[in-house]
């Protein structure tokens, strides 16, 4: 038996390779560049590399190819989602690189030093933040890009791990409140590993299913690439329990990353504990990756089982929307509030995914981009509201902020209105798009639940708005720091995109619509 090295279309996967090279280069920079120069080198390198990957991606926009021996599919959705991930990652890196708000940036210098020790106090006050965060980010981005283009379950699993492992570490690197940060990272890691186990077990079951049916005469039975699964599911053997058991467990693994209930439990703790720029990165980019993977899985591999999985995943969507919306109501910490809002948004995204029509794919992709811009802008504002102890995230501290700093309170109000889905913001267009797609796909029940939970969800947003504008600033109202150029850039991009996508969404809607065709 000879093993043939599969053919690679290097041009098609060039963006992934560039970011991978970027990550590797980042590691080398850590090893060889003197400490003083590392921050600037890493920042410029990372931003430059991401931009380069984006440029190459744009030149590849017409690629539609399955390559690397059926392992990677570069098609419309893959390119669109990869591009979205890179753009959002650039914004996140801008926030990560910010050092004007706090001496040394938002990250700890040496994460291994015991919290609370004398040495820790010294480093908290003086030392510059660790620059390992940049290669970690690049690795996570590689994983995400591979995840949305993975064309078989094993590649998908590897991509999942590649994107997850750096994230666990990144969560632990906060400069302030280090114990909370480390706790968040540990929880995320343990539950993430747990979810990965589900995923892997599901893969095994699906392999078992495909191995028992001879899909096409002559083809060797068994395989976990999406084409084989699709073909096998199209035959109708007596026992499909393996298939559905497998799908259920794989879905659990993906829904965990997508923060869908009841697999969302880690989200509030991790979003709150992680350094805010990392939270923004997770909320925007990880969501794109998770839903990109879910879209491909459901539309490519398990398309034939649509009528079977829709009711179950629909129930999960409703539960997710309900849990996110209802629990947002009683949150008192802004980062937790945004975490629950992110959970509810995962529900709306699921509605788009389950539409089952082409508009479902395009509207979900549009939603991902629009939400990503807004949520990064939201976390950028969170990094600005601070006092001597770092960010002031408790809601009561935001009371009267409108009087202290009308500009930032105004910007945050706009962001919250976008979350609430008020017209002239991208939030309205994206909700409208996914709900419209779901109606087209005959899933009216999901839309009804979506609209009701949107109403509930408007309350916590508006409560923050009311607190900012109608309360008198108290003794404890923190000041708003003047953002450095990097955070300001991220904030401006996010807010501008939220506005532009709300006023003139047509170009991106068209782009996502042309891209919304998977290949198998």
């Amino acid at each position: 038996m000879t093993i043939k090295f599969p053919a690679f279309d290097y041009a098609a996967i060039a963006p992934i390779l560039i970011v991978f090279g970027l990550a590797a280069a980042g590691v080398l920079v850590e090893a060889f560049v003197p400490k003083r120069a590392r921050y600037l080198t890493q920042l410029v390198l990372t931003l430059g590399g991401l931009v380069a990957a984006l440029v190459v991606l744009v030149t590849q926009a017409d690629t539609r190819v399955v390559t690397a021996g059926q392992a990677i599919a570069i098609d419309g959705p893959a390119l669109f989602l990869q591009g979205s991930i890179i753009v959002l990652a650039i914004m996140a890196v801008l926030m990560i690189g910010e050092r004007a708000l706090e001496r040394g940036g938002p990250f700890v210098a040496q994460a291994a030093i015991t919290v609370g020790s004398e040495e820790d106090r010294r480093q908290a006050a003086r030392a510059d933040g660790a620059t390992e965060i940049y290669p970690l980010t690049s690795f996570a981005v590689v994983g995400m890009m591979l995840f949305v283009s993975a064309n078989d379950l094993l590649t998908m699993f590897i991509a999942l791990e590649v994107l997850s492992l750096p994230l666990y570490l990144m969560c632990a690197l906060a400069r302030r409140r280090r114990l909370v940060s480390q706790e968040a990272a540990l929880k995320y890691f343990m539950l993430g590993a747990y979810a990965s186990a589900f995923f892997l077990f599901g893969v095994a079951l699906v392999y078992g299913f495909t191995a028992q049916v001879q899909a096409t005469p002559g083809a060797h039975a068994g395989g976990v690439d999406f084409a084989t699964i699709h073909a096998a599911a199209a035959t109708s053997p007596a026992n499909r329990a393996l298939l559905f058991g497998g799908l259920a467990l794989i879905a659990v693994g993906l829904l965990f990353k997508a923060t869908a209930a009841p697999f969302h439990v880690w989200t509030p703790d991790v979003y709150q504990g992680a350094p805010t720029p990392v939270t923004g990165f997770m909320a925007a980019c990880t969501k794109v990756a998770a839903f990109g993977g879910l879209l491909r899985l459901l539309y490519v591999a398990f398309e034939g089982a649509r009528w079977d999985f829709t009711p179950v995943l629909g129930a999960i969507a409703i539960l997710t929307m309900l849990v996110g919306a209802v629990l947002s109501v009683t949150q008192t910490d802004l980062k937790r509030l945004l975490a629950y809002s992110s959970i509810a948004n995962a529900g709306y995204l699921l509605v788009g995914v389950l539409a089952g029509v082409r508009e479902g794919i395009s509207s979900t992709m549009f939603y991902l981009v629009a939400y990503g811009f807004t949520v990064i802008a939201a976390f950028a504002v969170v990094t600005l509201v601070r006092d001597a102890d770092g960010e002031a995230t408790h809601l009561s501290r935001w009371a009267g902020l409108g009087k202290r700093s009308p500009v930032f309170a105004g910007v945050f109000t706009f962001i919250l209105l976008a979350f609430a889905g008020i017209p002239l913001t991208s939030g309205f267009i994206s909700k409208f798009a996914v709900f419209g797609a779901a109606i087209d796909g005959g899933q009216t029940w999901l839309v009804i639940a979506g609209v009701i939970t949107s109403m509930i969800l408007a309350f916590p947003y508006l409560r923050v708005v009311v607190m900012m504008w109608l309360s008198e600033p108290g003794e404890s109202t923190p000041t708003i720091a003047v953002p450095g150029a990097l955070t300001a850039a991220a904030l401006v991009i996010g807010v501008a995109a939220t506005l532009v996508l709300g006023v003139a969404p047509a170009p991106l809607l068209n782009l996502s619509d042309t891209a919304a065709q998977f290949i198998r």
């Binding site: 009711p311 179950v312 999960i316 109501v329």
Partner: protein, 639 residues
């Protein structure tokens, strides 16, 4: 009638017609964003933006004459696309929008120039010019849109600029109140316009002018009537016509250039534009036309009567604006060839009313912001330029032979006599009577301000003429007031057809042209003579007791009292009642629901323990449920 309306696509230079809106918009944004930092150059930037707009409009105007249909359309980008409904950000440049653009940028430029001098001592002059440019951009959007949604955007934009500028001196309670009043009364009208647009969505599936006008023929009588009445409600709100006239005179609390540009020359004529633009709708229903004519006739008389009793120079001019727009409404209501007559009167009015407002501003500038005409007198010698230019405006508005008003108001009066049956007599005589009254109160204003003995307050010693930057625009506007009407009357009527309907030739007034003109001249000269005789020796310095009619006129014919009793009091009662029921009934239910959500949220929150073991437990349970559900579906238990 059944001809399809189609517009050519704008190409070449005309394709850049959006610049007209973009230039003042950008200038406004720059000024407002820079705030105080722009104080040094804001006024010149603002004026230059409008000047550039005027030059561009002239270029477009001459290019438009060579276009095949003399109308070009430019769709910039898709604004809303929902199902079958599509709204574009689209512009339409045709003869009607072209003349409005010329008026807005031309007269607007002169008023901007004047304001540079008038506002020189105001420390918020830059803000003023920011708002002023914003207004110009919105007004140009209003007249350039190719669908009703664009028109509505502009409509609300000019409204916004108008409220901001009325209450520009917001520290004065009267200015703040006037801004609020304008806002509230305009909301009533705007609601009408919005509902009309929704009706177009519902019945025609489009708000594009071309689609709407082509589709009107297929609609039922009632739908057209409702749509037209709602559009009319919007028009009356913006143009200060009965029953929504009360806000306009109060709007004079704003700086005088605002009164001249927004509340005389341009914005308040938006209602006339709306009806003229929608002529396909209004011509399709006779009842509708009769309502418009009645509103016009009634308002023109109301304006005259109240104008004759006021002593505040700007209020008199404001009521005369109400009255003159009444003439325009009368014109557009008459339909047919009278549409063009109304637009021509609108253009001429733009010149002479802007001229007189700026003249009034010049007088106030020299008289320490005095506005009471009882305290003026004998100013002709001290302010020769202001006097001469104001006189030109006065002669124009009363319709003195040879001046603008004579050429533009006369035809509307004749057209009113061309209606069929007894209504010709009713509306014709209303218009004639209005002409006489206009002559009376405008002469009163002119005589009391410039002639007769000095009646100044003690603190004024030497009223002075205004600086050249204010006098220059006055002179140009005065020339316009004198000759514009005569020059424009017949070429503009031809130019405007289409989009406005052609003149019908088989109509005959119930009296001959000669008789009508003679009557109108007799009434005009009687009004002038009477006013001169009564007021040449000045007047009492304080309000004198008067009869029923004058008292009523001084009280704005009790319109404010009416609004207060009929709308405000019940409104307050209704809101109180609603608040009561809301607290007891609805809030009970809603609060109950909210409490349920909150309570549920509180309880659910306890599940978020922070322990990884319980999180893992919940995931395990979830996974089991999902697997079980899949298996159940597979077994056919669920589906």
């Amino acid at each position: 009638m059944e001809q399809t309306i189609e517009y050519a696509h704008a190409t070449g230079v005309l394709g850049s017609v959006w610049l007209l809106i973009a230039i003042p918009l950008v200038s406004s944004a720059v000024i407002l964003l820079l705030g105080r930092r722009s104080a040094k150059f804001a006024h010149w930037l603002g004026t230059a933006a409008i000047g550039a707009g005027f030059v561009l409009t002239l270029i477009y105007f001459f290019l438009l004459r060579d276009q095949p249909n003399r109308a070009v359309e430019r769709n910039l980008w898709e604004f809303i696309s929902v199902g079958s409904l599509k709204v574009d950000i689209g512009l339409l440049f045709d003869p009607l929008s072209a003349v409005f653009c010329l008026l807005i940028t031309g007269v607007g430029f002169l008023i901007h120039l004047y304001a540079v001098g008038y506002m020189a001592h105001d420390e918020r002059r830059h803000t003023f010019f920011g708002y002023f440019n914003l207004f110009a951009a919105a007004m140009l959007l209003l007249v350039l849109g190719n669908n009703y949604v664009m028109l509505y955007l502009g409509w609300e934009g000019v409204g916004l600029a108008s409220y901001l500028l009325i209450s520009f001196w917001y520290t004065r309670p009267s200015a703040a109140t006037a801004g609020k009043k304008a806002f509230l009364m305009n909301r009533v009208g705007d609601a009408g316009l919005v509902i009309a647009i929704f009706m177009m969505f519902a019945y025609l599936g489009s708000t594009n002018y071309a689609d709407v006008f082509n589709g009107v023929g297929s609609l039922s009588f009632t739908v057209v009537l409702m749509m037209g009445l709602l559009l009319l409600l919007g028009a009356t709100g913006k143009s200060g016509q009965f029953p929504l006239q009360a806000w306009l005179p109060d709007a004079m609390e704003g700086p005088t250039p605002v009164s001249a540009l927004i509340h005389a020359a341009t914005m308040v004529t938006a209602g006339v534009y709306l009806i003229a633009r929608s002529n396909a709708i209004f011509s399709a229903n006779e009842v509708l036309q009769t309502v418009v004519v009645s509103v016009g006739a009634l308002t023109l008389l109301i304006g005259c009567i109240i104008g004759a009793a006021k002593d505040d120079i700007k209020r008199v001019l404001a009521w005369s604006t109400v009255s003159q727009i009444g003439y325009m409404f009368l014109g557009v209501g008459l339909g047919g060839g009278a549409y063009a007559l109304a637009i021509i009167h609108l253009l001429a009015h733009g010149f002479f009313k802007a001229n007189m407002f700026l003249g009034a501003g010049s007088v106030m500038h020299g008289m320490k912001d005095q506005v009471d005409i009882r305290r003026f007198g004998g100013l002709w010698k001290l302010m020769p330029w202001t006097f001469a230019t104001f006189t030109a405006g006065w002669l124009a508005i009363v319709g003195f032979p040879g001046f603008s008003g004579f050429f533009t108001k006369e035809p509307i009066i004749v057209a009113a006599f061309e209606r069929e049956g007894w209504t010709a007599w009713l509306y014709g005589w209303a218009a004639l009577l209005g002409a006489g009254l206009t002559a009376f109160y405008m002469t009163r204003l002119w005589v009391l301000t410039f002639l007769g003995p000095k009646r100044w307050t003690e603190d004024i010693e030497h009223p002075h003429e205004s600086p050249p930057i204010m006098v220059g625009p006055l002179v140009l506007l005065a020339i316009g007031s004198a000759i514009a009407g005569g020059l424009m009357a017949s070429p503009v009527a031809k130019w405007l057809e289409p989009p406005l309907p052609a003149e019908a030739h088989d109509l005959h007034p119930v009296m001959s042209h000669g008789v009508i003109t003679t009557l109108s001249l007799v009434l005009t000269f009687a009004g002038i003579g009477l006013a001169y005789l009564l007021f040449r020796r000045g007047t009492a310095l304080v309000e004198q007791p008067a009869g029923v009619v004058v008292t009523a006129a001084r009280r704005n014919l009790y319109a404010d009292a009416f609004n207060e009793i009929v709308f405000e009091k019940p409104g307050i009662f209704l809101t109180r009642a609603l608040v009561f029921f809301d607290n007891r009934g609805i809030d009970g239910a809603v609060n109950g629901l909210a409490a349920a959500v909150g309570g549920g949220s509180g309880r659910l929150r306890r599940l978020q323990t922070g322990f990884v073991r319980s999180y893992a437990m919940s995931m395990m349970a979830g996974a089991l449920l999902v697997v079980a559900a899949f298996v159940a579906v597979q077994m056919g238990w669920l589906s």
